[in-house]
Symmetry: C3
């Protein structure tokens, strides 16, 4: 895919901090998938199966794992080759190099509505019909798309991008380099009601949401403010679309929440946890650092550090797999039990008849 | 329900291309459910059970299946009767006839914000505070509700309706007669990150979303753009509310995705597939043409054409049913195993004692 | 957490209608959690485990259950004590007392877009870029945040709050003291299509949504209008975030729908029902008054009054628990069956050999 940016293979090697086999003067103008590359593209051959089809790419430059044997053929074929430790990270880096984020250049749109005491960093782009309430502070190079609502007293760091139709309720604190995809809601009321006979009394939700640096929030997420204190999304967390995070939850650094995950109130999620799509976590639980929770799992008790859990209710993945293997054979197992009963019944009869 | 439109029963028969038994001159002014109709309404008696209660409707006109016996009673009762092959399709047609879509007549609101190089078809209705970025092209009779964001370079066909608070990110391509319900997000970034030690590096999402003709997208859907290439929603697809479709997914023609379905990245869904509510599909899988996936199923491997799958992990529906039948009896089965053990234990003892 | 409001402990006792042990003249200026209170705060010690750590709070005033023994120590410690029947309800009441709802004072923003025949009660606050179509009626003290869309003919009662980016489609009826959290969609089209060969014909959705008094709707809910008639959310219902309610559903008074619940078309939910997070209900079913449905359950048949159901498909909770207990032991049970087979096989052989 053609970019406006041109880099020599030598410049790319320097940017990646990697070795370079082959021509260092070749001009690269874009990034493309392995089988859809042209001689001016750089591509990725990240896994072993690419080794068998190296002749299937026309890419002028190829990122490969350091461990690949036989890249000489690629070089002979005319490609410049970058052997790296972490091919996917290098791939992300070259994509970022050739396709830096871009957005409409609104400057400060005169159709935006900005309240009192607005403290605004350098080079903002604030789109038409954005609403910024009183006492808001934003850092440098912040991009706020149209129809975004920023409540009173909100603070945003530097290089934050808030896409269209996002709601950020009052008093939310957001760090730097945070991206919020369209339609997300940050700081809605926690779901707190006290039973009072047949009715429910609303418990005012007085806390806030705090989102730390380098977080990305997916489209149409809902993240509730705390009852007291903070609902906290720690630095480096990435959430996919339609994730729900209730009041007083803490999500630890660099954790990943895949689409449609739901986290109940007062849950603590450790660092570098992965929750696969549609998983749910019951309230007040703790999920340990580095744990992995399988898709659509229902976490109903604490999960230890580094554990891999699956199923509903969630259990250690290996046990769940063993159970699932048997579950699939239950109709047959039942037949075998019936047969056993019939055999044993026969024996008891014959036993009886013997005794008779 | 009263409409402003008046049609004679003869005109309706012509419109439906159906036979007509009874009065062809009767004036019909609305559509209503069977037991809540008045003599100026047309109603539907689509299933056999209606035959027993034909005297329960006051409807002046009734759509029935061709196969119904005994509609003479209905005619004798004074109703005009339309025997048709597909009663529900005929019902949809008369509802469309009496209640054509309507919307506020904004024309081109002077409170909308429209960018450069806007190519606009005939008779647009574009509401207050809609934002249309640069280089957007829209067809004839397009309706864009308030607070819609249309990113740079988006193309919409003819007769498209985009309801309020929808976000359509840059470069999205949308065909004709497409309806997008409120709050949907089209073209958010795919969820792509490369692990880099403890942190995650964002993989820029360079592709687009393409939505073909006659698609309807439900409220608060999220459809991510492709990493490279296209996330494609083919013609005739209908999605219910809160459906999530990840990057690089293809949904085939006329498929149905019921509420809260989640489709992971790079999944290929065939034509005329039905995914029931809350089902999920893991990444890179293929679901064959005409397949049906049950509610809350978790599809974890490819599904063949026309297969009916249920459960999590999803499996052929008949097998799942047989398994579920046994699962429900497990406490009793366990008792039977205990009894067998006790019986066999007794025998072994008696066997031993015999041998002793 | 400090409030602008000051009340004496005597005033609080009067407000709660409760007894007061200790100083009635103490000034309270805020509400805080038990272990984070200062002498000017009131706190809650609602459960027995607090009795063991009464010395852990600095709170000047404490709400306790009437049944607590030994609150004299608390009083001796200098706290004013409120023994009440329902501590959580009293807690909600004092939080409401000290932190009454607040919102930006927009009055009628001149950046809002208001249609013809607007009937507006006293003291509205209508934010910038809100859109109110023709023939809308709202009661007194209504708050409408920015980017809210209110369709033609909508009626709102008194003291309604509609947060940012909410869509309320035409003809919706909303009672008094209703709160709608950000991003919700009320009145989108029901998911109704008639199969017509390979294609689907849209069935126009002619009904409305009616939301009764004292309802709170969570962030990013989607509630579809009825095909004919009413989708009804009865008084006192509270829904959490990302709840989906399809066309023609009725939710009875004071029921609770937790996050990511999905309700299919034409379902009837009784009064004071609780649906836990991610539960789903198949179409046309009835859930009886007072029923409780566990998290991620899939309701596939009617649920009686007061029943507690769990699992997918949902079943009586006790039975589900018994089944789950056995499911977890299936690998071991299978081994026991194998052992039985081997034992019985041995016996049959020995039997045979005896007979031989």
């Amino acid at each position: 895919m053609k970019s406006k940016i041109r880099k020599s293979t030598g410049q790319i090697a320097q940017y990646l901090g990697s070795d370079l086999l082959g021509d260092a003067e070749k001009i690269i103008t874009g990034v493309a998938p392995f089988e859809h590359s042209s001689p001016h593209d750089i591509t990725l051959a990240g896994e072993a199966h690419f080794l068998k089809k190296m002749d299937k790419t026309l890419a002028g430059a190829v990122i490969v794992p350091e461990s690949f044997k036989g890249v000489e053929d690629l070089v002979a074929q005319g490609s410049s080759v970058f052997p790296v430790k972490n091919p996917r990270a290098a791939w992300a880096m070259v994509m970022q190099l050739f396709y830096p984020p871009s957005h409409p250049q609104w400057g400060m749109s005169n159709s935006a509505n900005v309240g009192k005491n607005f403290v605004c960093g350098k080079d903002p782009d604030i789109g038409p019909f954005a609403v910024i309430c009183d006492n808001v502070t934003i850092g440098d190079r912040v991009v706020i798309y149209p129809h975004v609502y920023i409540g009173e007293g909100v603070v945003l760091g530097d290089d934050v991008t808030i896409y269209a139709n996002v709601t950020i309720a009052n008093s939310t604190k957001i760090g730097s380099r945070v991206i919020i995809q369209p339609g997300a809601v940050i700081g809605s009321d926690g779901f707190g009601f006290a039973p009072d006979g047949e009715k429910w009394k609303k418990i005012p939700q007085l806390g806030i949401v705090q989102i730390d640096d380098d977080v990305e929030i997916g489209a149409s997420n809902t993240i509730d403010r705390a009852t007291f204190g903070i609902t906290r999304i720690s630095s480096g967390v990435k959430t996919d679309n339609q994730v729900h995070i209730a009041h007083n939850v803490t999500v630890g650094e660099n954790s990943i929440l895949v689409a449609q995950v739901g986290i109940s109130g007062s849950v603590t999620i450790g660092k570098h946890v992965i929750l696969a799509g549609q998983a749910g976590v019951a309230e007040h639980l703790t999920i340990g650092d580095g744990a992995i929770i399988g898709p659509a799992s229902g976490v109903a008790k604490d999960v230890p550090d580094k554990a891999v859990y699956s199923g509903a209710p969630a259990q250690p993945h290996r046990h769940w797999l063993r159970v699932q293997n048997v579950v699939g054979t239950l109709p047959e197992l039942k037949k075998r039990i019936l047969k056993l009963e019939s055999l044993v019944d026969g024996m008891t009869d014959s036993d009886k008849s013997q005794k008779d």
